[in-house]
């Protein structure tokens, strides 16, 4: 592998890791604060793609479509929380798994009912077309760079939100002692709604960022959900920092595994292991630390 290819793959891995982080954050926050398994996060990723595509088409502008799409995402996330998830917090995990699995089926097929089976188009906004030269001979698409930077900025903003603001304190306090914060006058139902919307919107934004790169189709969120769940497990349930480290690790392992393993082990075996590399890494980490990286 040449140096320039190495640099390019590092950027690819970063970008994948950042997107996974956005999806994983929602899952891990909901795990940590509400103690709830949420398999419907993948559906929100998909909805992000569809909503932005539709809003962009309706307004003929990506930059108008973006806030509209996010507003619609917030509404959907609120509806999910108010109508379904709210009733599941005190339930056994199997009820949570199944209800959110059911939601996933509903959203996937609901998208077909609304948008049809043909994939929907989403273009790269004109301002982000083209590529930049990272190193001599290495042209990297601006859009992918922008995705990495934007997702990274969201990550920093989230870190600020959680570590510096009142809402962030309440999120951390709520994850710790649920009854106590109610006794101190905090409306926990509202806090949960906020947390779910925050996580859901971040997942949806990941779908929006992914839209111009991949296909906006039904079920587009499912494989991402699975990878995000792996990040959440590796990082430690409920740990935002852990999810970040894990997402970067998964992004890099996946990107480099796909390139290096077939070279090292031959096409057949190498590719087979490259498909599994993420899960192998996860198994190794869990043997080492059964509760994930963030555990002490």
């Amino acid at each position: 592998m040449t140096f320039s290819l190495f640099v390019e793959q590092v950027f690819n891995g970063l970008q994948l890791g950042m997107l996974l982080f956005l999806v994983a954050v929602g899952v891990t926050l909901v795990f940590g604060v509400m103690n709830l398994v949420n398999l419907s996060q993948g559906a929100l990723v998909m909805m992000g793609g569809f909503l932005l595509a539709t809003a962009t088409k309706a307004t003929s502008s990506y930059w108008l479509g973006l806030p509209l799409g996010i507003a619609a995402l917030i509404v959907i996330a609120m509806l999910i929380e108010l109508l379904v998830l709210r009733r599941l917090y005190a339930r056994p995990h199997i009820d949570q798994v199944l209800a959110t699995f059911g939601l996933m089926l509903m959203f996937n097929e609901g998208a077909v009912m609304i948008w049809g089976r043909d994939p929907v188009f989403m273009a790269i906004p004109a301002a982000l077309e083209g590529s930049v030269t990272l190193l001599p001979g290495v042209a990297y698409p601006i859009y992918r760079l922008a995705v990495t930077i934007f997702a990274g900025a969201l990550g920093v903003a989230l870190h600020f939100l959680i570590s510096r603001t009142r809402l962030g304190m309440l999120i951390r306090a709520g994850a710790d002692k649920r009854e106590m914060i109610q006794l101190l006058g905090v409306d926990i139902a509202f806090l949960y709604l906020m947390v779910f919307c925050l996580g859901g919107v971040l997942g949806g934004v990941a779908g929006m960022l992914l839209g111009p790169i991949s296909a906006v189709t039904t079920g587009m969120g499912d494989p991402i959900l699975i990878l995000a769940l792996v990040c959440v497990v590796i990082g430690g349930l409920g740990s935002v920092g852990g999810a970040f480290v894990a997402a970067m690790l998964v992004g890099m392992c996946d990107t480099f595994g796909r390139v290096l393993l077939p070279q090292a082990l031959g096409a057949g075996t190498g590719q087979a292991i490259a498909n599994m590399i993420v899960y192998l890494v996860m198994a190794a980490i869990l043997i080492w630390r059964p509760a994930g990286l963030a555990s002490r």
Binding site: F31, N35, V37, L39, V84, R87, L88, A90, R91, P92, H93, I94, D95, V97, L98, A99, F101, G102, L103, M104, L105, M106, F107, N108, E109, G110, V112, M113, I226, L229, V230, V232, V233, L237, G268, Q271, A272, N275, M276, Y279, L280, M282, A283, L286, I287, P290, A291, G292
Partner: protein
């Protein structure tokens, strides 16, 4: 339940199952066979969900392991079910021992996610088996029974499946009532107390996990024989989710609930998909409603049906 009433129901059920092959056309009979097969898998999953209080989201992997082991062994020239089936079930049990050994160090949400991740790993192994069709899968010639049963006779296969299901059902009833079953539930309700009397919860859970993995593998073997075709889809994670749905649609923690839930699920997806191409939407809706409207009924039932608690008062 009143024993008289229960016995009447059991006799009626037995009569229905015995008469089915003559009352139903081949399609419906195969559908019932499928219900029984998924019933075996769901009973296995229920052992973990209902009795050990663990929720696995990766048991389709064992369904797939059983099917692939059976298919590959058959492809290697072993045709007799008396050889292939036990071996395939052992492969499933071995896989369950490894995965269970690693997953059971955690519990709760971690357990859900870790079982899912291991199942994904196995799914990708299936997908990368180029000699066995990769993602497309491969055909399996039905296993033979030393001439005792014609494997291609739907009625014979139905009765075989029915007999296997019954034996497993009765065995499981004994298992959950045995000291092992009691210890399993004790571990679910109060791990510390179990540890205090010197019984490690891990061991009981691992045995339950292996047993449930072996049952899913058995179901995989049967399903592969019924279908005559094996694909990685057997081990996909939505399939794992469906197994959990079956447990929920029946009643978790009752063993017979697994059978009932599988029957409901197979019938439901058959009927829904005939009504609409968007059947998945309605299936999802039904699941969500079932969970919301049940109002924690599953947990209440768990408690009510627990013989130890019932004895307490």
């Amino acid at each position: 339940m009143n024993p008289m009433f229960r016995n009447t129901i059991l006799v009626a059920l037995a009569a229905i199952f015995a008469a089915a092959p003559w009352a139903l056309d081949e399609f419906s009979l195969n559908l019932v066979t499928r219900m029984l097969i998924f019933g075996i898998a769901a009973m296995g999953v229920d052992l973990l969900v209902g009795f050990a209080g663990l929720v696995p989201l990766g048991h389709a992997a064992f369904l797939g392991l059983g099917a692939y082991a059976a298919g590959i062994l058959t492809d290697m020239g072993l045709e007799s079910a008396f050889v292939v089936w036990p071996l395939a079930i052992m492969v499933g049990a071995l896989g369950a021992a490894i995965i269970g050994g690693l997953s059971l160090r955690s519990s709760g949400l971690y357990f859900i996610m870790i079982t899912l991740a291991f199942a994904q790993m196995i799914y990708y192994v299936f997908q990368s088996l180029r000699a066995y069709g990769g993602d497309d899968g491969f055909a399996l010639t039905r296993n033979t029974f030393a001439g005792l049963i014609d494997p291609y006779d739907s009625r014979a296969f139905y009765f075989l499946t029915l007999a296997i299901t019954l034996v497993i059902f009765l065995l499981l009833l004994r298992v959950v009532a045995s000291p092992f079953g009691v210890a399993l539930r004790a571990a679910r309700d109060n791990e510390a107390r179990l540890a205090a009397v010197g019984l490690p919860a891990f061991g009981y859970r691992l045995v339950a996990f292996i047993l449930s993995g072996a049952l899913c593998a058995f179901a995989g073997v049967l399903l592969a024989n019924l279908t005559g075709y094996i694909t990685p889809g057997y081990g996909s994670w939505p399939q794992s989710g469906e197994l959990l749905m079956m447990v929920l649609l029946g009643t978790a923690g009752t063993i017979w609930g697994g059978l009932l839930g599988a029957a409901i699920f197979v019938a439901l997806s058959e009927v829904l998909s005939e009504v609409s191409d968007h059947w998945m939407f309605y299936l999802g809706l039904l699941i969500v409603l079932r969970v919301l409207l049940a109002g924690g009924e599953t947990t209440k039932l768990l408690k009510r049906l627990d013989p130890r608690r019932r004895a307490d008062g």
